[in-house]
Amino acid sequence: MTLLPAHRISLRDRRTRAVIGWLVLLAFLGILWAVVDNNYHLRLLVGAGTAMIAVIPFGLLMGHMGYLAMGQGGFVGVGAYVVGVLTVQQFEFDFWAALPCAIIITSALAYLLSYPLFRLRGYHFAIGTLAVGQLLYIMFDSWEWFTGGPHGTAGIPRPALGDYAFVTNQRFLIVVLFFLVIAAFASWWLARGHVGRALSAIRQDEDLAAARGLDVFRYKQLVFVFAAGFAGLSGALYASMQIAIDPSSFTIWSSFQYVIYVIIGGSGTLLGPAIGVVFLVVLDQFIQDFGKWNQIVLGGLIVVTVLFFRGGLWGGANLLWHFALESVGIRQIVAQALGAATRGK
């Protein structure tokens, strides 16, 4: 399996750009990991990486397939609580033992829920998932003997391999980056080939796709469970990152957050949502200075992005690039330079 067949490597090719974008993003995170010794910045990276693990697969559901789910925070919460309950609240599992449980339980839940939820579409699906998210939140809050209720669960361990404990943010970032690569690769693998084509057929006209004999439900279910499984993984890492969790981390607003990442970064691509996370994390550092007004800045930014940058940041970047390529004439200059280099080889 090759990521990119040689003949397809081209400036105009979407896939080329995406692969390069990914490599750069991962390299960028890796370089930051090596360079940044400020624990606060590392912490931001851990947080961003954890969010990306949930957001990239979620982007498949929301962007590629066009199903807006407004309860993803609930699945992240399930993952976090499974780890919290297994490692602290009820049993004393090792983190590595709890982690697969988190993924399995979240995926199983999503599998069961997919039957009723995918009888719905559009707005109904959005509100149906919102209801699921809210029900899960209420469960975290009310099922006191199991989840700790409003007390939450504190003392969730960081993972370790033998004597090497991933306790510091720098070490924990290795774990997060590892899973991030898996999440990104798995999403990429799923989005290519027949699943990707099915998703885009579903987005464009589901009835038509079904009429042509596509088993749309299976594909929808697959993507939904896939996104939920990674949400559970992200939640497990979130719990370990935060050390303590309580229901307030998994409200309706946390679900909206994932949707915002996707839309700001650019829906319909895999890289877009990841860029959305990085952008909002960085932006947050700047709008801290706006202090009490930062919610207004963020809200305004969402409105502006939706109105004027339909492809989000990644779409905007591509558009700018095309513009530069076509009208300014850079393309010829660089192509000549590169052409010369290629011939030289």
Binding site: L68, Y123, D141, V259, W293, I296, G300, R310
Partner: protein, 291 residues
């Protein structure tokens, strides 16, 4: 039994308020096919307008009430012009997100202006009396809001089904292009629909504010309930809103009373999931291709 009846009454009164909150959302969706999450903040701001006019300027409740309706109607037109008209043909995701952005902007602005701590009462007729039958009682203020709700719904029904304006709205709802061909001015209908939707939000805010004090977070619970109600009642159905609002309000109260106070919030969502499974088009809705 008394307790049960009493909860029915409380629930019905709360449900009527929710129905007004939802009707604005349903109307806009029915004609314009946009879900406006910022409606929750229109409810809240309606409460504040009523408070400023009725309490701070010392006028009557009804002056504040109509001021809330008018100001929120106008604000709603502004939002339509600035944001929603660009979103009509865009995916649902975009509509929800843009309105979520507006929700954040409006909510934080109100919080910054008015703060969270103070009590902001609005005096309303009927506050000092109640109807009683045995041990069951209905507060005058709740009766007044029920009466207002009925009047609002009756007028809305009249406007939509008995006037020329209503016909144009319904025509637009059935197919915008056809309506345009028939000479209906699209922008004008949009403005009127958004005005009415915003005004209903403002009315809900004024009533909720008068019954339970005005506060910056008062739009959240009614918004969630309204999102559920418009599905439950059937998207875009006004009659559906009132029936669904009543059922939801009553179920909420009964759950709090008989099951547990923390679990009241479960009700709308369980009801919602149930209705989505059994009858996705809602009580009064027609089967919809997009449902």
């Amino acid at each position: 039994m008394t307790a049960f009846a009493q909860q029915l009454i409380y629930g019905a009164s709360y449900g009527m308020n929710l129905a007004v909150a939802a009707a604005g959302l349903a109307l806009i969706f029915g004609v314009y096919r946009v879900i406006n999450l910022a409606h929750g903040q229109l409810i809240m701001l309606g409460g504040f307008v009523a408070y400023v006019v009725a309490t701070q300027l010392g006028t009557h409740f009804f002056v504040g009430f109509f001021a809330a309706m008018i100001v929120m109607g106008l604000l709603s037109i502004v939002l339509e012009n600035a944001v929603f008209r660009f979103l009509q043909r865009r995916p649902l995701t975009d509509q929800l997100l843009a309105s979520l952005g507006l929700y954040m902007v409006l909510g934080t602005t109100a919080l910054r202006i008015w703060g969270d701590f103070e009590a902001r009462p609005i005096a309303m007729p009927g506050e000092d009396w109640a109807l009683t039958a045995g041990e069951i009682r209905i507060d005058g203020a709740r009766l007044v809001t029920i009466a207002i709700t009925l009047v609002l719904f009756a007028s809305l029904y009249f406007v939509v089904y008995r006037t020329h304006l209503g016909r144009t709205m319904r025509a637009t709802a059935q197919g915008e292009e056809t309506a345009a061909l028939m000479g209906i001015k699209k922008r004008r209908v949009a403005a009127i629909v958004f005005f009415l939707g915003g005004a209903l939000g403002g009315a809900a805010g004024a009533m909720l504010g008068a019954l339970f004090n005005v506060r910056p977070d008062m739009g959240f619970q009614p918004l969630l309930m309204a999102l559920v109600i418009i599905i439950f009642g059937g998207m875009g159905s006004i009659a559906g809103s009132i029936v669904a609002g009543l059922i939801l309000g009553i179920l909420y109260n009964l759950t709090v009373f008989y099951v547990g106070s923390k679990l009241g919030d479960l009700v709308p969502f369980l009801v919602l999931l149930a209705i989505l499974m059994i009858r996705p088009q809602g009580l009064f809705g027609l089967p919809d291709r997009n449902a």
